[in-house]
């Protein structure tokens, strides 16, 4: 026959009640937080959870980078969009100016608008994003297009010559990791994008304004004297026509490929973003499976634990009241 002593009896009642209370505590915490593995010892997959969390953090980091790069690329695309219109307008003026029915003075009237267009293009080339020059390569605290002078004329817009900054780093590409394995160059050196256009516009403006630009082809060296009319009228026409070729070349070889490339970059960024989103979702799913509490299960467990606790309270209260003294 089992002998049950007083301490044994009360201890076991207290133990059972305490155990049930601990279970209620555990499950109510799970229900309240929705998490079953809050500390490493809560799960045998603690290391896996930590890895997934790090992966998610890394994905978030790349997502932030991608959104920044996207807005940077979008900014460049907007700039080039304007270029298209400006080149088109410059070509119209050049065609008009190349017409030999115009007198030199009529041509000179057209020069003014050409220089305005040039200044706008230079403005685009020197555009800055968040205070940093977009087309300056790695040397982004310095405007990439600097103004120097032509020998002639001494004043006026025709005297200004814009040159791409030759400092170190201006032609450097800036690669950025957008995922663990994919990098994207977020910039193009300004000379490659705007160089030819600016040269063409300067040559056009100067020709219309009555000044030759030397050498006749290739990069201007800053020299070029005023035309002597009527002797140089044909040369002026030829110079103007040359700028049409130059503008076409700038559009076909610089602007269009650059826009195509930006479009490609944007697609790569979006693909990378979509892929990251996919891996984020799958990582979150796995993480949720191993770290989050199954709500239905937790609530069911909680209810069960509560019922058990109520039962042990009721049993304890009844059992403790029983004593032989009431019967003797």
């Amino acid at each position: 026959m089992t002998r049950i002593s007083e301490t044994q009896f009360t201890r076991s009642l207290i133990e059972h009640t305490a155990n049930n209370k601990a279970r209620v505590d555990k499950y109510s915490e799970q229900v309240a937080t929705g998490i079953k593995a809050a500390l490493p010892s809560d799960s045998t997959d603690a290391g896996v959870i930590a890895r997934y969390k790090q992966q998610l953090d890394r994905i978030d980091g790349y997502m932030t980078t991608i959104s920044r790069v996207k807005s940077y690329v979008q900014f460049q695309d907007d700039a080039l969009n304007q270029m298209d219109e400006l080149i088109l307008r410059a070509k119209e003026i050049a065609s008009q100016g190349a017409n030999e029915s115009l007198t030199p003075s009529a041509r000179a009237f057209l020069a003014e608008e050409v220089f305005q267009i040039r200044d706008q293009v230079v403005g685009l080339g020197n555009s800055s994003y968040q205070g940093r020059f977009v087309y300056g390569g790695a040397d982004d605290d310095d405007a990439p297009f600097d103004a120097t002078v032509y020998d002639e004329p001494a004043t006026g817009p025709a005297s200004v010559k814009y040159e791409f900054d030759a400092e170190l780093g201006t032609s450097q590409l800036r690669p950025v990791h957008i995922t663990d394995d994919i990098t994207v160059n977020i910039n193009t050196p300004g000379a490659d994008v705007f160089g030819t256009t600016i040269e063409a516009l300067e040559r056009l403006g100067r020709s219309l304004g009555g000044y030759a630009t030397e050498p006749a082809s290739g990069a201007p060296d800053g020299s070029g004297a005023a035309y002597t009319f009527p002797t140089d009228y044909t040369k002026q026409t030829a110079d103007i026509k040359y700028t049409i070729d130059l503008l076409n070349r700038a559009r076909d070889e610089d602007i269009l490929p650059e826009r195509t490339m930006l479009g490609g970059k944007m697609r790569r960024l979006e693909t990378a973003e979509a892929l990251l989103n996919l891996s984020k979702t799958s990582a979150q799913e796995v993480l949720s499976k191993i770290q989050n509490a199954d709500e239905t299960e937790s609530v069911a467990n909680l209810t069960q634990a509560q019922t058990a606790l109520q039962a042990s309270y009721s049993v304890t209260a009844k059992a403790l009241r029983l004593t032989i003294m009431d019967y003797i």
Binding site: T7, Q8, Q54, G61, L168, G169, H177, D180
Partner: protein
């Protein structure tokens, strides 16, 4: 004619005395119903032998005699209770202290763990790589660097502090153990003398039992009761703590006679104490190291020592000691050392000028200045940090500093946002450097380190993997260790409940039983009194005949 009346009276009086003794014992049992460790007692009654036979053919007996008083106990059950208490004492220590450490590796919540700050730091480095000239992004990087260093320091310091706290607890435990063994020895003396004079020593035995139970909560020992009633207590290696009436006091020392001039440092850079017995004198001690033996056992002291770790006196590094705390701290220290050496080295970039001796950094900040040798992560040390002067932060430089650990002294070296060297030299000419402000090559190289596989080493620990893998393996280790401690607590608790239950089943007081006995004894007392009354009536009638 035989005198039956006096016989009747004699028997009844003996019965009255016996029943009273029984009731007195019952009252004592009831009084001690809630006394922890109390062993219920039973009085053995003996029928008195009839020495002078009244009748030649048969004897009536001479009533009842109160025999010995006996403790209802089983040494097997008592030792099972002690073992369980020992196991529980150990498990509780590990569980309590590891719980504190575990919260530093939380898997949720806003708390900044090493894992989350490591990610944030490398993310911030990558952001600077995208936009190197942005002061805002650089300020964020500085903050993230500080966060990472803080997380490492806090985590390491918590672990190291815990080790120290555990070390501080040892002398208190030893003082209690010494007190217990001293009392056991003096109780041994009393019990021996009482038993020698044939006097039962029940209360003393109860007290000694309670002391043995308390001692078991502290350490694992083996006990042996000798024929004279004395209890010998010895450690697992046979070292006697109590031998008969003498006890041996343990000492706790930070200057053991078996140690060299310098003892190995603890995680905090102090030293860990040794539990010893001094065979020599106070002036010239001759210490016997008992730390390992006690650490091999259970009880709270066993638990404390196992968690704290044991450093062999010949060790040189804090990380050569065993124990879970040291194992966790070793991993963090490995991370710190990797930041100080490999990450700092990567931060300096490739050698810009191979013609000049030593490494000439090819990295540059916004002003074009190269970083210092420990330019990204630094440590507080007043001496020369790059002791070999080669410009490369290496493990040998760390070793030469003579510091026991670096995690507590780690510092994020960049305090001025301009000073973070995000750029690499753009000038291909050796000896000439140029750093465009928008160059983020160096930052990108640092950012890429996070996914790079490297070997993390610190004392006996080595792991080949990425920073992420080092952290997640640490989380796994902490989780598994804590989880084992929790299981140990649950198992120990179950064992303790079961052992205590078995012991109480036999030895504790049951009120039902005592009350039933009380009624039984009362009835017997009433019956004996009634017999005295009957005898008195017989005498009255005999007297009336006269």
């Amino acid at each position: 004619m035989p005198n039956y009346t006096s016989k009747i009276l004699g028997n009844s009086v003996s019965a009255l005395t016996a029943q009273q003794a029984l009731i007195a014992n019952t009252s004592n049992n009831i009084a001690n119903v809630n006394t922890p460790g109390y062993t219920r007692r039973e009085i053995a009654l003996l029928n008195r032998v009839d020495a002078t036979s009244i009748h030649s053919n048969f004897t009536f007996g001479s009533g009842v005699e109160v025999g010995t008083i006996r403790r209802i106990t089983s040494s097997f059950l008592e030792s099972a209770v002690r073992d369980a208490a020992s196991r529980q004492g150990m498990a509780n220590i590990a569980n309590d202290y590891l719980g504190r450490i575990e919260s530093m590796f939380s898997l949720t919540g806003p708390q900044q763990t090493i894992g989350s700050t490591l990610n944030d730091f490398f993310s911030a480095v990558n952001t600077v790589a995208v936009n190197p000239s942005s002061i805002d992004d650089r300020l964020v990087l500085l903050q993230r660097g500080e966060d990472l260093v803080n997380a490492i320091q806090t985590t390491y310091n918590t672990i190291a502090r815990t080790q120290t706290e555990l070390d501080y607890q040892v002398p208190q435990e030893i003082a209690q153990i010494n007190e217990y063994t001293k009392q056991i020895a003096s109780l041994n003396d009393l019990i021996q003398r009482r038993k020698g004079s044939n006097i039962p020593a029940i209360d003393e035995e109860d007290q000694r039992n309670a002391l043995l139970a308390k001692l078991a909560e502290k350490i694992t020992y083996s006990s042996y009761e000798m024929e004279n009633g004395m209890m010998n207590v010895s450690l697992a290696n046979g070292f006697p703590l109590v031998a008969g009436t003498t006890s041996r006091s343990l000492d706790y020392t930070y200057t053991p006679s078996f140690g060299g001039a310098t003892l190995p440092p603890s995680l905090e850079g102090r030293t860990l104490g040794y539990i010893v017995y001094n065979f020599g004198s106070e002036g010239s001690p001759s210490h016997l190291d008992l730390t390992k033996t006690i650490k091999g056992g259970m009880g709270s002291l066993g638990g404390i020592l196992q968690l704290r770790g044991y450093a062999d006196a010949t060790n040189t590094s804090a990380f050569e000691a065993d124990g879970e705390l040291v194992a966790i701290a070793t991993r963090i220290e490995a991370l710190t050392r990797s930041l100080l050496t490999e990450v700092n080295e990567a931060y300096l970039g490739p050698d810009e000028d191979t013609a000049t001796a030593g490494l000439q950094s090819s990295a540059g900040d916004l002003a074009g200045n190269p970083p210092d040798v420990f330019g990204l992560f630094d440590f507080d040390y007043s001496g020369v940090k790059d002791s070999d002067g080669d410009g490369v932060p290496s493990a040998a430089d760390l070793l030469a500093s003579g510091m026991s650990h670096f995690s507590s002294y780690l510092r994020f070296a960049v305090t001025d946002p301009q000073r973070f060297a995000a750029a690499r030299d753009n000038d291909t000419t050796e000896g000439a450097v140029a750093f465009p402000s928008g160059d983020g090559q160096n930052a990108a190289a640092i950012g890429a380190l996070k996914q790079e596989v490297r070997t993390f080493t610190s004392a006996g620990f080595s792991l080949t993997g990425t920073f992420d893998e080092l952290y997640s393996s640490t989380v796994n280790f902490v989780g598994a260790t804590k989880s084992k401690a929790e299981t140990d607590v649950a198992v120990a608790k179950a064992a303790q409940v079961s052992a205590q239950s078995k012991r109480d089943e036999l030895s504790a007081v049951s009120l039902d039983e005592e009350f039933a006995n009380l009624i039984k004894y009362q009835k017997a007392f009433q019956a004996s009194a009634r017999i005295i009354k009957t005898a008195s009536e017989i005498l009255d009638q005999l007297v009336a005949l006269i």
